[in-house]
């Protein structure tokens, strides 16, 4: 897994793997849930700048984190989503709940 993250004031920015499929999704989910719990994260930003491939397993990961964060009064945002991945996300209707942002700053400003 090549997931890297950065935490600032309970905001976590996670740079995801190059390919997100079912095989990777399980690892990503477990790692994220651990990081969220350990650091009492309030805002989770998924950074797709390294990600070239994502199938519907990725929707599951984002939705799952969204529900979790909302329950705890937190929120979720996305940055650097390429057009192919946007097409997958659009199909699912997830954009009604979770949005793309211009930058980390932009996301944090609007979500916190």
């Amino acid at each position: 897994m090549s997931l890297t993250y950065e935490i600032k004031h309970r905001n976590m920015i996670v740079r995801l793997d190059a390919e997100i499929d079912h095989h990777k999704a399980e690892e990503i989910r477990d790692r994220l849930d651990q990081l969220i719990a350990m650091n009492s994260i309030k805002v989770l930003i998924f950074d797709f700048s390294n990600t070239v491939f994502m199938d519907s397993s990725g929707i599951g990961v984002i939705m799952g984190r969204y529900k979790k964060m909302k329950q705890m009064g937190g929120d979720v945002g996305l940055i650097n989503v390429n057009s192919n991945i946007q097409r997958v996300l659009k199909l699912s209707g997830i954009y009604r709940l979770v949005k793309n942002y211009e930058s980390v700053q932009d996301a944090i400003k609007r979500l916190v």
Binding site: H22, D55, S56, G60, R87
Partner: protein, 152 residues
């Protein structure tokens, strides 16, 4: 003259083979010079069908996933087959957001993705015997290039 090529591949129902299946189909389709978007459509659809075979078809049991791929001129035809547990209600299974595994964080969007990204998707399934997903896509990029060449 018709351009034709075909291949078959068979591999273990292990999740690490999902990425392998995408590479294989992408490499086979590469001979048609697809656009990046067309290639992404095909890889995503393959990924959905192969993942389904592994997690729904075989669940935790080991089995084989079969892919048959044929190119005829600018049309790509792909079949993904498993000999797993089958689908009892295909119509329901194809509904957006329907999933039998919400606890695994499946989104229920697999069939919807295949339908959106391929021109045609057919599903054949027999309970207790397995499932075959048949998909077709015409590469418009190739057709456009050919027409350009003719117009020159």
């Amino acid at each position: 003259m018709k351009f034709e090529n075909e291949m078959k591949i068979e591999f273990d129902s292990k999740s690490q083979n999902e990425g392998f299946a995408r590479v294989v189909v992408a490499a086979f389709v590469a001979q048609l010079d697809p656009t990046i978007e067309e290639l992404a459509d095909i890889k995503t659809s393959i990924s959905e069908a192969v993942t389904n075979a592994i997690i729904h078809g075989y669940e935790m049991y080991p089995g084989k996933v079969y892919i048959y791929c044929k190119i005829v001129d600018d049309v790509i035809y792909v079949e993904i087959e498993d000999h797993g547990k089958g689908i009892s209600n295909i119509e329901e299974a194809r509904q957006p957001l329907f999933t039998s595994k919400p606890n695994m964080e499946r989104s229920g969007m697999g069939f919807t993705v295949m339908e959106a990204f391929m021109d045609n998707v057919e599903v054949e399934s027999v309970e207790g015997c397995g499932t075959t997903v048949m998909m077709k896509k015409t590469l418009l990029s190739l057709r456009a290039t050919k027409e350009e060449a003719c117009n020159e």
